[in-house]
């Protein structure tokens, strides 16, 4: 892996991903993917369902290989959080967070547990707990592993509204406080605008990056208010762009 620009922690050029389907035909899942992820930035890949964003995110996280193309990073530590809950139900919260870690610092652990809002739940088991609870465990695990980049694959769709909004706030808080880079895959425009510093728009059949938008709120405090002028402007711009490019591919705009 070569060394990339100082502010860029991961750079992808001309990446493709092909696979052979059950009928024996070659399917071009991803084509001509160019993207870069910057340090301490919240990046979102916004794409319709089935565009191949999960595969792209797994490639970014180093869990899958691409068919061709170049991926450069500075040997950063990457942690992947999948769509379905990834906390192991046979381990309690503490054991889940410290999974595969041999030496742990109690003060640091407690600090992280407090930061993700799991204080008092150290010895609780995640089975029968909400998806939000389980996501907090995954976030804590990423932090204790000192991840430079957290790759998150659309985990919010099955969460209840109030839980999801709480998680949005938590994600931004952690990203700002811990200076971690985050890549999120989603098909929800509102979610992408509320959370991101940069949005990559992705098409499907084959999956490719069409454009990118820098998101900057005039009033950052109002970032989480979905009826602000900034928010509405961004949403309309992205919707218009997507409709122009390909009106048949539906992307969720609800929050």
């Amino acid at each position: 892996m070569g060394v990339v620009a100082i502010n860029t922690i991961l750079n992808i050029e001309n990446l493709t991903k092909d696979y052979i389907d059950s009928t024996g035909h070659i399917v071009h899942l991803l084509e001509d993917i160019y993207l870069n992820i910057n340090k301490e930035e919240f990046t979102t890949i916004l794409a319709p369902t089935g565009a191949g964003k999960s595969s792209l995110l797994k490639i970014i996280a180093g869990l899958e290989t691409s068919s061709s193309g170049k991926i450069e990073d500075n040997s950063i530590k990457k942690i992947f959080i999948p769509t379905e809950s990834s906390s192991f139900p046979w381990l309690n919260v503490k054991e889940n967070i410290l999974f595969n870690i041999s030496d742990s610092n109690d003060t640091e652990l407690q600090e992280i547990i407090n930061l993700v809002g799991l204080e008092g739940y150290k010895n609780h088991y995640p089975n029968n707990k909400s998806l939000g609870f389980r996501f907090r465990i995954s976030l804590a695990r990423a932090m204790i592993n000192e991840a430079n980049l957290i790759v998150i694959d659309e985990p919010f769709t099955k969460m209840r509204d109030e839980v999801r909004k709480g998680i949005y706030l938590l994600l931004r808080k952690i990203q700002n406080e811990k200076k971690i880079s985050v890549v999120l895959g989603t098909s929800n425009i509102s979610e992408a605008i509320l959370l991101s510093d940069k949005i990559f728009l992705m098409d499907k059949d084959p999956g490719r990056i069409m454009d990118s938008f820098e998101i900057q709120f005039a009033d950052p405090i109002r970032r989480n208010i979905s009826n602000s002028n900034d928010f509405t402007d961004y949403r309309e711009r992205i919707k218009t762009y997507l409709t122009k490019i390909n009106p048949s591919k539906i992307i969720n705009v609800s929050l």
Binding site: K58, L63, I79, E84, S86, F99, N100, N145
Partner: protein, 256 residues
């Protein structure tokens, strides 16, 4: 063995199951002791009681029961422990060398009765042989359950473990095996019932030390009362055994 076997049977609470058995016994006593004229096919309950005393005193029922139950429960426990110990290696074979598991396919079509006969012919009247036979039965059924359940591992757990830097072998042992345990051991009650039947057949065929040989004696002497007595006794033991297994299952696999 399937995922629902424990859940389905546990829909009836253990206390209700026992009450149901008690009701059946009560009806049997009333009908065949007091109401109906004694018939050859269904012995009077008082005769069953006498038969029980005779089996206990003359035929050493306690020792034979101890022998059979020891083999059943020790092999169930040992089989589960061996599977736990071997799980990560077995999963490695299942995922990395799937062809090896196919080698067992021809044996699926040979009945256990055939193997019971074979073992009895090879090692006549040997408790060790019976033990080895039982442990092989338990292990083959548990491994076949592992093979079946491992076809769809939870992708999210595997991806998370990979992302945290676990090696393939660690993923098999620490993640996939842990995730599969509830579904594999949910079939333990069914395996328990099957094992009782298999061991009784084994002992019946070889007239080995055990309750199966007592069945053989009862059959030879045309002793219907003894057959009934043993039948009721073994059903009660299986019922209690299943209740204990279910209790342990719920305690150990609390996350299911």
């Amino acid at each position: 063995m399937n995922k629902n076997s424990v859940q389905n049977s546990s829909t009836i609470k253990p206390t209700r199951q026992l009450s149901l058995v008690a009701v059946f016994i009560f009806i049997y006593i009333i009908l065949f002791e007091f109401v109906l004229v004694p018939v050859r096919f269904f012995p009077k309950p008082s005769i069953l009681f006498e038969s029980f005393i005779s089996l206990w005193d003359t035929y050493n029922l306690a020792v034979l029961l101890f022998s059979t139950t020891s083999i059943i429960y020790i092999t169930l426990l040992l089989g589960s422990l061996i599977l736990t110990f071997l799980a990560k290696y077995l999963l490695k074979i299942i995922y990395e060398y799937p062809g090896l598991m196919n080698l067992s396919i021809p044996f699926k079509y040979l009945s256990i009765f055939f193997f019971a006969l074979l073992f009895n012919l090879w090692f006549s009247d040997s408790l060790t042989a019976e033990f080895i036979f039982a442990i092989l039965v338990v292990l083959s059924l548990l491994i076949s359950a592992l093979n079946r359940e491992s076809q769809n591992p939870k992708e999210e757990y595997v991806l998370t473990a990979k992302s945290l830097g676990l090696s393939s072998e660690e993923i098999y042992g620490k993640v996939i095996w842990k995730d599969l345990q509830p579904s594999i051991f949910s079939g333990l009650t069914k395996l328990h019932v099957s094992l009782w039947m298999i061991i009784l057949i084994y002992e019946f065929v070889g007239q080995n030390e055990g309750v199966g040989s007592l069945y053989y004696a009862a059959y030879s002497y045309n002793d219907i009362a003894a057959v009934f007595t043993l039948g009721i006794l073994i059903s009660l033991l299986i019922l209690i055994g299943n209740m204990i297994i279910k209790y342990l299952y719920q305690k150990i696999f609390f996350w299911e």
